[in-house]
């Protein structure tokens, strides 16, 4: 493997400009979506490059190309200036590229050293793992990042912050030269973030190139040397962080004409349906309160981990709040389970469709009728003809595309699965529908259909709550937006204040 000096020789002294790893004019297409088009990215030794973009901008696709999980359709990848390919993840790690993900998989019952070296442990006699050498090497790596952790301890005995350090040590255990940090601070406290930044400085000093992916602008300005902004899979701008201001970055990240893609709607809210006051949870959210009227679309915006989904799930009865009240049509209700919520007319389309939203192995019609069994049966006995009729009525309204109604939901595309989940809830004739990231993982065509349908539901008098991390969607669909940060409501924005910059500023707490 090359070190710093070798590289400088190769590039004839142009040390400043030589990227350890560079993407040039990369294109990547998935069925129905162009995830990346003609993007470039350069990672320079001893520098932190911030990759900035909204959800869906193509950041994670780039990470997967850099780590050999995806193959680009066009463009080239260069290591030390030489064109290369990473056909498998192992090829990327041989070239010294390593990634620290938000949720690196670690093993509680194994020791720290075993976690660090799992899969590439040093071998001794007979090919057995050399435990002594492994512990020594683990200690070396842990020392190099300033972590005071005994490599022989079991992982389960460590706190969250130390587990995170083990994940970093694991990433560094392959003689990394390029370290990708994908939202590394999402799960960390303030103090732990400071410690992480010290570590980043150390890695910089060791001449490693760092790709830092974050939504938080204060962190980016604090730690990054260079920036690259993606939007909709395209490179919007890059350069030195010293030459750019925060508003300029925000504008690059979100700036696009949002009004065109979304259905025109004139909101005409009616009576108040839902009133939530002082809703709190011991750890996830605090003092959430708002009212929602018929025909209104209320957006909830915030960064990942702001507590939006946790609040919605409490409202739907999955978890219990520690305090707070809910009123439906001015009558106080107690929601102790999803069944109660459905009885009171509150339904929830979860973000995790495969696990929570639908029962993938069961046929479409049975998924649609599951919460409405009482309506298609008499005295507990199912009436198959009525069941099919109900399923057909609501799937037709949503323009579902499927071979037949007894096809398992798991065989459908993401967009059509989402339609089944929404159809299931509409069949219960709810008062309030909560949509959690309704277009996540949904192709562009179905996305527009879901948006159109939301507008239509609101027009018919349904009260809609939409949780979304996509700024255009929030702006394009909502009458009102509540911004949450760290479990609290930090802003309630109406018509006049609905600007992308305002949203980002409140969500990130700038």
């Amino acid at each position: 493997m090359l070190n710093q000096t070798d590289m400088a020789t190769i590039s004839d002294g142009l040390v400043e400009d030589v990227a350890i790893l560079a993407l040039e004019r990369i294109t990547k297409t998935f069925p129905g979506v162009k995830a990346l088009s003609d993007v470039s990215l350069r990672l320079i030794p001893g520098k932190v490059t911030a990759l900035i973009g909204e959800n869906g901008a193509g950041k994670s696709t780039v990470v997967k190309i850099l780590t050999g999980i995806y193959q680009p359709d066009g463009g080239s990848l260069r290591v030390d200036g030489q064109p290369t390919r990473f056909p498998v993840p192992q090829a990327a790690s041989r070239s010294g590229v390593t990634a620290i993900h938000q949720e690196t998989v670690l093993f509680d019952e194994l020791s720290v050293a075993e976690n660090i070296f799992l899969g590439h442990a040093p071998r001794g006699a007979f090919g057995l793992i050399d435990l002594k050498q492994m512990a020594e090497k683990a200690r070396e790596i842990l020392d190099s990042i300033g972590a005071k952790i005994d490599p022989e301890h079991k992982l389960k005995d460590l706190g969250i912050a130390n587990k995170h350090l083990v994940a970093i040590a694991r990433a560094l255990s392959i003689d990394a030269r390029v370290v990708i940090m994908d939202e590394p601070t999402a799960a960390l406290s303030h103090k732990e973030i400071e410690e992480l930044f010290e570590l980043v400085e150390k890695l910089k000093a060791q001449g490693k190139a760092i790709l830092f992916i974050s939504h938080k602008f204060d962190e980016i300005f604090r730690i990054a040397d260079n920036y690259t902004v993606f939007r909709d899979g395209q490179l919007i701008g890059d350069g030195s962080i010293a030459d750019v201001s925060e508003p300029e970055l925000v504008k690059m990240m979100v700036g696009r004409d949002v009004s065109q893609i979304f259905p025109e709607r004139t909101s005409n809210p009616g009576d108040t349906v839902l009133k939530v006051s002082g809703y709190s949870h011991p750890t996830e959210f605090e003092d959430i309160g708002f009212t929602l009227r018929k025909g209104e679309i209320l957006g909830f915006y915030g960064l990942v981990g702001a507590g939006r989904s946790e609040f919605m799930q409490a409202l739907f009865g999955i978890t219990r709040p520690s305090a707070g009240t809910v009123e439906i049509d001015a009558t106080p209700v107690h929601i102790k389970s999803p069944a109660d919520a459905v009885d009171h007319g509150i339904v929830y389309v979860p973000e995790d469709r495969g696990k929570q939203g639908a029962i993938l192995d069961m046929p479409i019609f049975q998924n649609v009728t599951l919460p409405s069994l009482g309506r298609i049966s008499s005295r507990g006995f199912l009436k198959l003809a009525e069941e099919f009729k109900l399923a057909r009525d609501y799937t037709e309204r949503l323009d579902l595309r499927a071979a037949s109604l007894d096809t398992p939901v798991g065989n459908l595309s993401g967009g059509n699965q989402q339609k089944v989940v929404i159809a299931k809830w509409l069949a219960t004739q709810p008062k309030v529908i909560i949509l959690d990231e309704p277009t996540k993982g949904v192709d562009i065509g179905s996305k527009a259909a879901v948006h159109e349908f939301m507008a239509e539901l609101a027009a018919q008098g349904l009260a809609v709550i939409m949780v979304s991390s996509e700024i255009p969607e929030v702006l394009g669909m909502s009458d009102r937006v509540i911004v949450m940060r760290e479990g609290r409501m930090v802003a309630e924005l109406t018509e006049g204040d609905l600007q992308p910059e305002t949203l980002v500023r409140h969500a990130a707490g700038i």
């Binding site: 739907f316 999955i318 389970s337 999803p338 069944a339 919520a341 459905v342 009885d343 929830y348 979860p350 696990k355 929570q356 939203g357 639908a358 029962i359 993938l360 192995d361 069961m362 019609f365 049975q366 998924n367 599951l370 919460p371 069994l373 009482g374 049966s377 507990g380 006995f381 199912l382 099919f388 057909r392 799937t395 037709e396 309204r397 949503l398 323009d399 579902l400 595309r401 499927a402 071979a403 037949s404 109604l405 007894d406 096809t407 299931k424 219960t428 159109e452 349908f453 239509e456």
Partner: protein
């Protein structure tokens, strides 16, 4: 929303077509095969009274197997069923000593079964413990109580009218137990395949989280399933005790595994989510026929269990081997 001429049909294949290609059809062929083989192997097989006797090999176990099938489809299991029989039988024996009559005995048997089922159900659904661990525990607990009460003694002296539940005939060779078995099979088939409750059981077994997010009261359904399994163990305890005329603490030893075998052989996925009552009925017939046929040939019990084990693995492996072979 849109009124295109595109039409999504309800079904692509008719239910009849599905049924013909199903596991149950394969199993039925196996049952017929065994029946034919038996009638060639032993001259005593094709005799109405002998065949009637043979049904006692499976009727009591099958009653529990129907409830167990629902429980396994929902993703849980109850390994304490045979021990519930022991405890219920012991309780009935003790009641006889106190001079309780036949109606009282039936109530005691059913009541103990329900209580044991409720105990399992509370531990699993309220405390959130895994059912396999809970019911391995109560398997020892329930039978343990029986052993403490009885030691190496036995309860006898059941009233004449009580023995009818295990020895009575409704008409000609048709025993009361067989009729009860048929009625219970019908009830469970309707419960699982034709009611809201049955649909909820399938939904929970396929994806309990998804079912909860769809407004199904998952814990309540599971609790009812444990109650039903306990209740059916009580029913089986009444029939078995009446048939034997006595109670020992070792009564029905090892039945839990035979019952689970019956359920799995019937095509119920041990991982939950799929299976039918018809399948369990046919599996009960298959197991009864094999045991009876081998009994006529004077094959010892230990060999019978080898044959049942081989049958289970064979019947489950065959379709997989077949699809691997076809894929080539």
């Amino acid at each position: 929303m849109s009124t295109t001429d595109r039409f999504v049909p309800d079904r692509l294949r008719s239910p009849l077509e599905e049924r013909l290609k199903s596991w149950e059809t394969l199993l039925l062929l196996v049952a017929i095969g065994i029946f034919v083989a038996n009638s060639f192997a032993s001259p005593y097989f094709l005799n109405a009274w002998n065949l009637s006797d043979a049904t006692f090999n499976f009727t009591e176990k099958a009653m529990i197997a129907f409830a167990m099938a629902l429980l396994i489809i929902s993703g849980e299991i109850d390994l304490s069923v045979a021990s519930i029989i022991a405890l219920a039988s012991t309780a009935m024996g003790a009641a006889v000593q106190m001079g309780v009559g036949t109606p009282g005995l039936v109530l005691v048997g059913l009541g103990v079964g329900l209580l044991c089922g409720a105990f399992n159900g509370v531990l699993v659904t309220r405390m959130g413990l895994p059912s396999i661990v809970v019911t391995i525990g109560t398997m020892s607990l329930f039978r343990g109580i029986s052993f403490i009460v009885l030691g190496d003694q036995a309860y006898r002296g059941y009233p004449e009218s009580f023995s009818w539940f295990g020895q009575g005939y409704v008409w000609w060779v048709i025993s009361f137990e067989f009729v009860l078995f048929a009625i219970i099979a019908l009830i469970y088939a309707i419960l699982l395949h034709k009611t809201n409750f049955g649909r909820a059981v399938y939904a929970i077994g396929n994806n309990a989280t998804g079912a909860m997010f769809s407004g199904i009261r998952v814990q309540r359904v599971k609790f009812i399933l444990f109650l039903l399994t306990g209740l059916m163990s009580g029913v089986a305890a009444i029939c078995l005790t009446a048939r034997l005329g006595s109670t020992r603490p070792s009564i029905a030893t090892g039945w839990e595994l035979e019952i689970v075998t019956m359920v799995v052989l019937g095509g119920v996925s041990i991982l939950g989510g799929s299976g039918t009552i018809v399948g369990v009925v046919i599996a009960a017939l298959v197991m009864g026929l094999v045991t009876f046929g081998l009994g006529l040939l004077n094959v010892p019990g230990i060999v019978m269990s080898i044959v049942i084990g081989a049958l289970l693995i064979g019947v489950i492996a065959l379709p997989r081997l077949w699809s691997i072979w076809r894929a080539r």
